[in-house]
């Protein structure tokens, strides 16, 4: 579960005040709102990448408000995928496991399992230069899933993709969520995408959050 209580964040010119919502464990939340309204800021705060000025962030029973990002165990897929420029696809996906000092064999198994779900097994030995937008997003998703995160935060993962790729990524996200049962918070502009994926729609407008359950 991801729960946010009376969260206050200020970033540059705008501020978010008193934001509250709760996503039940295993649900798919979609965060919507116009450009510049603070969606990414909110997502970064949940991931631990941005300081909050008040309120609480809870993951399950844990109050993680002051935890560093590494301890939160949240998988983060930023808008531009932000793959590591010097690593091959296999190393990208295994990165979090290597950081956790897992054995080479355990890493290999997990990387191949995740790559299998995402249909990127043929890409494993490739460098990231030359991956298409859809492939890069899948690799970023695999990288965020490999360490069995307790939540997944996706920042407009489909916005840069063409219609066909977008459709197949939607199916992939649905299948990943039903397979892993991970709680997802997904930012999008696209209403059709939201209606298709969401158990719960969070609409951010003028610093206020409106919550609708599907």
């Amino acid at each position: 579960m991801i729960a946010v209580e009376q969260l206050q964040i200020s970033a540059g010119a705008f501020a978010l005040n008193g934001i509250s919502f709760a996503l039940p464990a295993g649900s798919y939340g979609v965060l919507m709102g116009r450009t510049g309204v603070g969606k990414t800021t909110l997502l970064e705060a949940i991931c631990g990448l941005r300081r909050v000025h008040g309120g609480r962030i809870r993951l399950g029973e844990d109050n993680v408000t002051d935890w560093p990002p590494a301890r939160r165990n949240i998988g983060f897929v930023p808008q531009d995928a932000a793959l590591f420029p010097h690593l091959k696809v296999r190393e990208q996906i295994g990165f979090s496991l290597a950081v956790r000092k897992q054995s080479t064999e355990a890493i290999r198994q997990r990387v191949e399992e995740v790559a299998g779900w995402l249909g990127i097994t043929p890409l494993l030995e490739r460098p990231i230069a030359g991956l298409s937008g859809g492939e890069a997003q899948r690799v970023a998703l695999g990288r965020a899933l490999a360490f069995q995160p307790r939540a997944l935060c996706l920042d407009e993962p489909l916005s840069a993709l063409d219609q066909d790729t977008r459709e197949s990524m939607c199916e992939l996200l649905e299948s990943v969520q039903s397979r892993t049962g991970v709680t997802v918070l997904h930012i999008t502009h696209n209403r059709a995408e939201a209606e298709r994926l969401a158990d719960c729609v969070l609409d951010l407008r003028d610093g206020q959050l409106e919550v609708r359950h599907a």
Binding site: C47, P69, F76, P78, V99
Partner: protein
């Protein structure tokens, strides 16, 4: 006709005149540069070059130049990578001031750098240090004089490198279980290798050409503090123009080689760069 960005568009007469004027202005400068080097080359003969290379003084200067430039480059990278990273990624108090201070050697007349170092080592702490490690008019002064200027260029290069690298991958690394130091070593550092190569080449080439601060702070003593730029000066001052030009050509060749290395490696590693989205 030159290929232009967004090329294949037909050019009108006016367009051609426009590019002809640009080409003329730029071409004159390029021509002047080439003419300068050709004149150097025409002035000397293989015999002069060979004689210069045989001279023990010049051999010493070559060795000291290679050694001091390499040490200076290592020292500069050692400082420039952390400082460039801090300036690019963090907002510590006084950052703008530090940013300003590290640019000073770039705008300061080189002679003034040398004079300031000389004065610094006349102060009480400076003199105390000299008791353990003689600096002024000794080899360490050559390295320090080169380092003060070269490092500023290296810091600026590394700062620009980290500015151009998105911080996003490092943030992702934090969410994947890294601390700040791991995110630096595992993500930012390998991604910055091309910038480090550029900073190293720049620092090396800059040190090779350093003259003013070395003359003031290290003196120009043969078999002691003589580097290649000092050689050119010494040979010139005794009227041995042939040797001065021969050594100059040696420095030109080295500098051009450094430029080629930079361009070549720069391009090779560029193929491994991510697409900009």
């Amino acid at each position: 006709m030159t290929r232009l960005a967004g090329d294949h568009a037909p050019l009108s007469g006016g367009d051609r005149r426009f590019y002809a004027v640009l080409g003329l202005i730029g071409g004159l400068y390029v021509l002047l540069l080439v003419a300068m080097l050709v004149a150097d080359a025409a002035y000397t003969t293989p015999g002069h070059l060979w004689a210069a290379l045989q001279s023990p003084e010049i051999q010493y200067a070559i060795r000291l130049s290679l050694l001091s430039c390499t040490l200076t480059t290592l020292l500069s990278l050692w400082v420039a990578v952390p400082l460039g990273y801090l300036l690019s990624r963090t907002h510590f108090p006084g950052r703008d001031l530090v940013d300003l201070i590290v640019e000073i050697p770039i705008v300061l007349p080189p002679l003034v750098v040398g004079l300031s170092l000389l004065i610094l080592f006349q102060t009480a702490p400076g003199r105390a240090l000299e008791k353990f490690l003689p600096v002024t008019y000794a080899i360490p002064s050559v390295i320090l004089a080169q380092f003060m200027v070269a490092c500023a260029f290296a810091v600026r290069t590394m700062r620009t490198t980290f500015d151009q690298l998105s911080a996003r991958p490092e943030q992702v690394a934090l969410t994947l279980g890294c601390g700040r130091s791991q995110a630096f070593w595992l993500v930012a550092f390998p991604a910055a290798r091309r910038g480090m190569l550029a900073a190293a080449t720049l620092a090396w080439a800059r040190s090779l050409g350093e003259f003013g601060p070395i003359l003031v702070f290290s003196g120009a003593t043969r078999f002691k503090t003589e580097v290649l730029s000092t050689t050119v000066f010494l040979e010139l001052s005794v009227g041995n123009l042939e040797a001065a030009v021969a050594v100059s050509l040696l420095m030109v060749a080295t500098a051009v080689a450094a430029l080629f290395i930079l361009r070549h490696w720069g391009r090779e590693t560029a193929l491994g760069e991510p697409r900009r989205s």
